[in-house]
Structure formats: structure tokens, C-alpha cells
């Protein structure tokens, strides 16, 4: 059996090298969407949780997981989608957040339930600019280039940038 040649730790190592299709500087394990790996009678089952329900990258991620594990020698691979507990940006690894910043995307702030539950939000929270670190930034739009991002602008260096929204 070829599949038996990979143990769970090795499967995790393969998964840890798969980049997010839209933000290639972080991997799907750093994103926190791989929830579980199980090996049973030669079948590898990977549980993945979606970031946003409508995120078109999820289908591509599933295809990448299947392809990369087969390349690594797993014959039978299944991807299972789990919804609970719902994904949160708090699961993104800290060093991955630093890499997001270097890539030009402001990483998500930690979720603060009391503040996030506020009912009226005309004033956005302060998001430091990923390019010059200035706190003088403004939100252009709550929605950006992908489901997970908002669109901001730095008032200091004048660069527009994406903000990975806390979810």
C-alpha cells in the first residue's frame, strides 16, 4: 500500500506547503483552515473549514489538497468540509500575519466581541498602514478585492492597501 507510507505528520507537512491561492505568502495550514487529518485503512481524510461561505478559492484549495497529496504518494484522499466551529481570523498564525504585512496586506486585528457587536459603525477602527506603519489611515470600503478583505488608504504615504478583516 502506497498510502500507508505517509503518516499523519507527513500529511500535515505536505499540507503546510500548499499556498493560499489568493494570498500566496501564507499557506493553508497557517490560515487555520485545515482542521483535522485522519488516516484510516489507507484513506487519508483532510477536514477543511471555509473562510467565507462564498469564497471561490475553497474549490481551488480542495483541488490543490487532492493533487499535492496524490503527488506525495497518497492514493485515496478525501476532503471533508466542516462548518463548526466557524473559522476565525484569530486562527491565523502570528508569523503568517507578519508575512501578510510584508506582502502589503494589513493583518487582521484580534476580535474584540464587545466592540465588534456595536450596531452603528460610521467610523472604522484604526488600521496601521502595512507600508509605512502610520496610524493615519482611512477606510475606503468595507469590501475589497476578495471576500476576506476591506479597502483602506494611508493618509501619510498615500498608498492604498488591503485590510484582512477580522472574522
Amino acid at each position: 500500500m502506497v498510502a500507508a507510507s505517509l503518516d499523519a505528520a507527513q500529511v500535515w507537512r505536505v499540507l503546510a506547503r500548499i499556498p493560499d491561492p489568493e494570498i500566496p505568502v501564507i499557506t493553508i495550514t497557517e490560515l487555520g483552515i485545515v482542521r483535522d487529518v485522519r488516516l484510516e485503512s489507507g484513506v487519508v481524510e483532510v477536514s477543511i473549514t471555509p473562510t467565507y461561505s462564498g469564497c471561490p478559492a475553497m474549490d481551488m484549495i480542495e483541488r490543490d489538497v487532492l493533487a499535492r497529496l496524490r503527488e506525495a504518494g497518497c492514493c485515496e484522499v478525501r476532503v471533508r468540509t466542516v462548518l463548526a466551529p466557524a473559522w476565525t481570523t484569530d486562527w491565523i498564525a502570528e508569523d503568517a500575519k507578519a508575512r501578510l504585512r510584508e506582502y502589503g496586506i494589513a493583518p487582521p486585528a484580534r476580535r474584540t466581541p464587545g466592540v465588534d457587536a456595536q450596531r452603528i459603525h460610521l467610523h472604522a477602527r484604526a488600521v496601521p498602514c502595512p507600508n509605512c506603519a502610520s496610524a493615519r489611515t482611512e477606510r475606503i470600503s468595507e469590501f475589497g478585492s476578495t471576500a476576506c478583505k476591506a479597502h483602506y488608504r494611508c493618509l501619510e504615504c498615500l498608498e492604498p492597501f488591503d485590510y484582512f478583516k477580522p472574522l
Binding site: 467565507y52 462548518l83 463548526a84 466557524a86 465588534d116 452603528i120 475606503i140
Partner: protein, 258 residues
């Protein structure tokens, strides 16, 4: 299906169809947004709603147990088999094809409703309903922020934007009554602890929308006896047009994939 499963199936269609049909309506704005950022915002919200609809309809198909998947339910049901509330199927404007004040106002009323409903569904006795609701609820927070912020700007903006926002509120308010009146399906879902009683959501919903309406300097219209009936399958003339466009490809080329 026994009566209980039947009620669960139809309740799931109500929640799923609300997202599907409103998502389809909002998608009509693509390429026509009043500014680029709003075009992108519409695409994002529409995609979230579509993603949520897929989860609800997939589960509805499982509950029904006749082998219908999300696509079969979305593309091969006729009007009377859809169970969305009437409000979400209305065109994007009352007096023109596209009125952004109307679109935003409807979203604000709906996002507030989802903001009240989804946390309650997240407490459902059914684990799958709870999981989908918890996930969708987090996404809905951003929709609500977007629609309520814009409504305040419109209402408290120029004379023209105020007039259009108030006209939209006057036109839409009556359609919200349907959301808070329980019928036999709602009662069965509540009795089985799958969902909250429809009427129990009204107070929290008002507590969300009224401050936004007040801050937008708009006036809540007087209550009327009008009651729309979309959720029971009796729709306005508008749903047919939505389905004609949404279902065309799968009707013309059954099972087409690309």
C-alpha cells in the same frame, strides 16, 4: 417525509431562498454600481449570500432525501416551490430598474433581520442548522455595517438621497410584516426547537433598525394590514423574472457544467 421532516425541509428552503434570491438581485448591480467600491461591495455581499444559500439548500436536499442537490433546488424548482419572503424578490427600485437607495434600504432591513435570526438559529437543536447559522452570522455583521452606514449617509445626505431613501422605506416597510408572522411551518420548526418563533424576532429587529432609521432622519411609516405571502410560495409577479434569468442556462442545457 413525515410532517416534521416536511416542515424542516420547507423551513430550510425559506432561509436558503431568502439568501439565494436576494443574492441574485444584488448581482444585477455588477457593472452598474454607483461607484467602483460599491460595485465590488455588491459582488462581495452577493457572493456571501450565494455561498450561504448553497449551504442551506445542500442541507435541505439532504433532509428531503430524494437526491436533490443545491443545483437541483436552485435551478429546477418553479415559482410556487420557492419559499423566500416577497421583499427579497422585488426589483432593485420601485420606479426605476436600479435605485441604490432602495437596494441599500432593503439590504438594511434584511441584514438586520439576519442579524437577529442567525444567532438564534445558531442555538438550534439541529447541529447542521446551528453550524451554518453561526458561520453566516459572522459574514452578515459586515453586510449590516455596510448597509446601515450607507442608509445613514443617504437619509442624512442630500435632499435627493433623503427623498429616495424615505420613498424606499415607505415602499418596503409593509413587506417586513411577513418576517414576523408565524404560519404552520414556522410553528412546526419552533416546536421542534429547530428555529425561533417568527414573532419573537420582531422586538430585537426593531431595536436594530429604528436607531439607524432615526439617525438617517427618516420616518417609520404607519403600520398597515398588508401581508405578503412569499414564504408560503405565493409570490409577486417579480419572482418569475428573477428565475427566468437565473435558471435559463440549466433549463436550456440541463446539467451543463463548465
Amino acid at each position: 417525509m413525515n410532517d416534521q421532516q416536511r416542515a424542516k425541509f420547507e423551513y430550510l428552503l425559506r432561509v436558503g431562498d431568502n439568501s439565494l434570491i436576494l443574492g441574485q438581485r444584488i448581482a444585477e448591480w455588477l457593472g452598474h454600481g454607483p461607484q467602483l467600491e460599491e460595485d465590488i461591495a455588491s459582488a462581495n455581499v452577493s457572493l456571501d449570500l450565494l455561498g450561504q444559500a448553497r449551504l442551506w439548500l445542500t442541507y435541505a436536499g439532504k433532509v428531503e432525501g430524494r437526491g436533490r442537490d443545491e443545483d437541483a433546488l436552485a435551478f429546477r424548482r418553479d415559482q410556487h416551490e420557492f419559499h423566500n419572503c416577497t421583499m427579497v424578490e422585488l426589483p432593485n427600485g420601485m420606479h426605476s430598474k436600479r435605485d441604490y437607495a432602495f437596494t441599500i434600504l432593503r439590504r438594511m432591513l434584511f441584514d438586520a433581520y439576519q442579524g437577529v435570526l442567525l444567532p438564534r438559529l445558531a442555538q438550534s437543536a439541529d447541529a447542521e442548522i446551528a453550524a451554518i447559522a453561526a458561520k453566516s452570522g459572522k459574514e452578515n455583521d459586515y453586510h449590516w455595517r455596510h448597509s446601515s452606514d450607507w442608509l445613514i449617509r443617504f437619509g442624512d445626505g442630500t435632499e435627493e438621497s433623503h427623498r429616495r431613501a424615505q420613498a424606499a422605506l415607505d415602499g418596503l416597510w409593509g413587506y417586513t410584516a411577513e418576517l414576523f408572522v408565524s404560519d404552520s411551518i414556522d410553528r412546526a420548526a419552533a416546536a421542534a426547537h429547530l428555529a425561533p418563533a417568527a414573532q419573537s424576532l420582531r422586538e430585537a429587529w426593531l431595536a436594530a433598525v429604528e436607531p439607524v432609521i432615526a439617525r438617517a432622519t427618516l420616518l417609520v411609516p404607519a403600520a398597515t394590514k398588508f401581508l405578503s405571502t412569499g414564504k408560503s410560495g405565493a409570490h409577486s409577479e417579480h419572482l418569475g423574472y428573477v428565475l427566468a434569468e437565473m435558471q435559463f442556462l440549466q433549463r436550456a442545457y440541463p446539467n451543463a457544467q463548465w
